[in-house]
């Protein structure tokens, strides 16, 4: 994938993240009428994952892709792209797969 495309993915996921992360934070905020401890309870946390599983799935996907691509962009300034680029890309893709699997497993088991 060209670097320009990876930046388009970064920009697009940023816009999506702003909305879904705001939604996620509002679910944990005092605007719900619940105390902080109450929002972190097992019943509330699993309830949110069950009711809004598509939103949380989208949040997981965009956060992992955007975050790890950001790490890759920073690391590319430290490592030489021609000699270390392939190793970096491989590591980032492996980490993406790992975190997406972990998060998807949680969504499936809880949901």
């Amino acid at each position: 994938m060209k670097e320009s495309w990876s930046m388009v993915v970064t920009y697009f996921s940023d816009v999506v993240l702003v909305f879904v992360l705001t939604f996620h934070l509002l679910l944990q905020s005092p605007l719900t009428g619940k105390a902080l401890d109450e929002t972190l309870s097992f019943a509330n946390a699993t309830g949110n994952l069950v009711y809004y599983k598509i939103v949380f799935g989208l949040l997981l996907l965009t956060a992992v892709v955007h975050g790890l691509n950001g790490v890759r962009v920073i690391a590319l300034e430290w490592l030489h792209p021609k000699t270390m680029g392939w190793l970096l890309n491989l590591t980032v893709v492996a980490l993406m797969a790992f975190f997406l699997s972990l998060g998807t497993y949680t969504l499936i088991v809880v949901g």
Partner: protein, 151 residues
């Protein structure tokens, strides 16, 4: 000579925004908050993974987090501030880099150089973001740190 050394000093000193304009400060803050957020994201995915193991595992996870004492809420407050800044500044960067907005029209580079990309609109955007994020961060602080007796 001193300036030349500064610009050729390598990557770590290049992250030092002291003595540079607001754009450079926002660049450094964007990187720093991004690194904080990716660290938190990894921990948060592991944390929520415990939900799948049942209520006892979740209670243990919460107990482990509470055992951090005030660092738990202070840490969340730092993450909240990082998310606010990174998100708001990210929107500004999209407007800049993807749509070419908030930047002046290109001009011939004539000495002394005055980059049009650091014009009034850009400075207003940076300071508006900074003010809004600070206000929301203080509000988040009241919510998160209230139980600690700090605020």
């Amino acid at each position: 000579m001193k300036e030349a050394r500064r610009y050729k000093s390598g990557l770590i000193p290049s992250l030092n925004p002291l003595g540079f304009n607001v754009e450079r400060w926002s660049y450094t803050l964007h990187r720093a908050t991004g690194v904080i957020l990716i660290g938190y994201l990894a921990a948060h995915i592991f944390e929520t993974f415990q939900l799948g193991a049942g209520s006892a595992a979740w209670a243990n996870t919460m107990a482990a987090l509470h055992s951090l004492g005030p660092f738990e809420m202070v840490g969340l407050w730092v993450v909240a501030g990082s998310a606010l800044y990174h998100g708001a500044n990210g929107i500004r960067l999209i407007l800049n880099e993807m749509f070419g907005k908030l930047m002046g029209k290109p001009i011939l580079p004539v000495y002394p150089y005055s980059p049009t990309s650091l014009g009034r609109n850009q400075r207003v955007a940076v300071w508006t973001i900074t003010g809004t994020v600070l206000a929301l961060w203080v509000w988040a602080g009241f919510y998160l740190l209230a139980g600690l007796g700090i605020v």
